[in-house]
């Protein structure tokens, strides 16, 4: 018999993160009390090292673990997004979460799960990736044990997360039962050669898998947990999970739907399109009446996930490419907005109430201007990165005949202008009240805001920097 090839190169970034987390736990033994935040820098170094090896892996398609993991262009592009969000989690975590070895290790482990999920091409590794990302996030959501909202967020996230994992797992069981295969390409071959035990199993499997991932992606009607968990979790964790989990779940959904389940033979497209329209409209409408910034961004995140799913519903190369571009855009502008909230907050969440942003530009001009740009980008105003992102998705939807989807995007965007521009207006309104915010933020929070701002501006003006590499990523999915 032949032993399967493990090939550590295929998981090199994951190995670096794992080594960093073990090192952090070990170093913590020798650190004096109240020096835990130094480990946060260690976490940053680990993440930066992992980002540094991505260009080396780019172009070599490393297959590992007997074909369960593939570090192709798609996986590497998604991993870059995930690593950026992990980096931001460390940059923002200096004040609010009292970082220690546990925070550093949990963030790194969640990032490993996300990265495995996007590189997994077998049902088993997909499931393991999903769980490795979920379990640390349950703990991170409740990381501020002294705050009742944080504990409540952990409880809700845990119950909904475990429930949705069960549904997802049942979907995987059906896909396995329909074809007898566990690799995505094997399932595709079995379907194309009509070697399936029962057609109902396939349809059920597709539906359960979509519903299970819809919970993770925060799609309507599986979104009820999102606002509470986003509001209750510490801000750095919210930023990390809003982008990282979405990237990972998007990657898994794209791989399963486009690689394993050809749309002509398994009818997932109507379900996805229906969920997309529902998500777009509901997310944008519910965001209108929020008074808490994090809660508003949670509903806006639901709406943004809707745009991503429209890209999947288009079921074309252009659609997948547009979805990936939008994901990167969402990462920069959303992480940026959360970074501003974290920079305005001290130990408690002073930066969360929208009302407290009144007149911010006169007191904290740099943060107010940055927040304005992030919100305008989320509302897809050119020349910021949200604009080309939405333009590509709109074009993909129209060119694949999804006129209704395109209309839903336009209507959703128009609604979203109201709630994105309201805080902007408040920030530029003069106010005599004294500032509620603590004196100054940790310098790393400013670094996070600045870096995200650079990404939002540069990719908004020169989207071509990203579209070239993403072309390769799309080809990796379609096996070109």
């Amino acid at each position: 018999m032949n032993f399967p090839v493990i090939n550590p190169l295929s998981v090199l970034p994951e190995i670096i993160l794992l080594a960093t987390s073990v090192l952090a736990l070990f170093v913590a033994l020798f650190l004096p009390e109240r020096r835990g935040h130094l480990l946060n820098y260690l976490g940053m170094i680990g993440v930066l090292a992992a980002i540094a090896v991505l260009p080396v892996l780019w172009g070599k398609v490393e297959v590992g673990f007997g074909g369960a993991i593939v570090a192709d262009h798609f996986a590497i592009a998604m991993n870059a997004t995930i690593l950026i969000s992990a980096l931001v989690a460390f940059l923002l975590g200096m004040r609010e979460v009292e970082p220690g070895p546990d925070y550093v290790a949990l963030v790194l482990w969640a990032a490993i799960g996300m990265m495995v999920l996007t590189s997994a091409v077998e049902l088993l590794s997909i499931f393991l990736g999903l769980e490795v990302l979920s379990l640390p996030l349950y703990i991170l959501a409740g990381f501020r044990r002294d705050r009742s909202t944080s504990k409540e967020a952990a409880m809700k996230y845990l119950l909904v997360g475990a429930f949705s994992s069960g549904i997802f797992l049942y979907g995987l069981a059906f896909l396995y039962g329909a074809t007898g295969q566990v690799s995505l390409s094997g399932i595709q071959t079995a379907i194309l050669q009509n070697f399936t035990s029962h057609p109902l199993f396939l349809e059920l499997g597709a539906a359960f898998v979509i519903v299970g991932l819809a919970f993770k992606l925060a799609l309507v009607p599986f979104h009820q947990w999102v606002p509470d968990v986003y509001e209750g979790s510490p801000t750095p964790v919210t930023a990390f999970m809003s982008v990282g989990t979405k990237a990972a779940a998007f990657g898994a959904l794209v791989r399963i739907l486009t690689v394993a389940l050809p749309a002509g033979l398994v009818h997932w497209q109507p379900l996805i399109a229906f969920i997309a329209v529902l998500t777009l409209l509901f997310g944008n409408l519910a965001a209108l009446r929020q008074t808490n910034m994090k809660r508003m961004l949670a509903y806006s995140g639901i709406a943004q996930a809707g745009y991503l799913v429209v890209a999947i519903a288009a079921n074309s190369q252009m659609g997948i490419g547009a979805g990936m571009f939008y994901l990167v855009a969402y990462a920069f502008m959303n992480l940026g907005a959360f970074a501003v909230i974290a920079a305005l907050s001290g130990k408690n969440e002073e930066g969360a109430e929208i009302a407290s942003y009144r007149g911010l530009v006169y007191r904290r001009p740099w943060l107010a201007v940055a927040m304005t740009l992030f919100l305008l980008s989320l509302a897809s105003i050119p020349p910021l990165v949200g604009f080309p992102g939405k333009f590509y998705i709109l074009r993909a939807a129209v060119s694949s005949g999804g006129i209704l989807l395109a209309v839903a995007i336009v209507v959703g965007t128009m609604i979203s202008l109201y709630y994105y521009l309201r805080p902007v207006l408040l920030m530029f309104t003069h106010s005599e009240e004294a500032s509620l915010f603590p004196e100054k933020a940790h310098w790393t929070a400013h670094v996070a805001v600045g870096a995200m701002l650079v990404g939002t501006l540069v990719l908004g003006i020169l989207p071509g920097l990203l579209t070239g590499p993403l072309q390769h990523a799309v080809h990796a999915i379609y096996g070109l």
Partner: protein
């Protein structure tokens, strides 16, 4: 030999009981047990399918699912204890600080 459909129907029934349990129970421990029932119903399906196809992948899947479920229980119970330690009743409807 018992036909595979029997196992699958039993599995679907257990899964449904678990789903309904999560939706109607309000005690977090009972909800969590219902989730475990869902997971184990899926395990039954995996084993049944693995027998049908005579390949080991389904069996391996079950072992990993059991491992992950154990980790999930460890974390889940810790969170439940953390949240409800200072309360008289364990009822998820009482977790209503955040609304909207």
């Amino acid at each position: 030999m018992v036909p595979i459909s029997y196992y699958l129907i039993l599995s679907a029934l257990l899964f449904s009981i678990g789903t309904v349990g999560v939706l109607i129970r309000r005690n977090p421990l009972q909800m969590f047990m219902s989730v475990e029932l869902m997971w184990n119903a899926v395990n039954l399906s995996f084993v049944a399918f693995a027998r049908q196809y005579l390949n080991m992948a389904g069996h391996v899947f079950v072992f990993l699912v059991i491992t992950v479920a154990a980790a999930e229980v460890a974390i889940g119970l810790a969170i439940i204890v953390l949240v409800f330690r200072n309360r008289e009743h364990a009822d998820v409807d009482e977790l209503n600080v955040m609304k909207g």
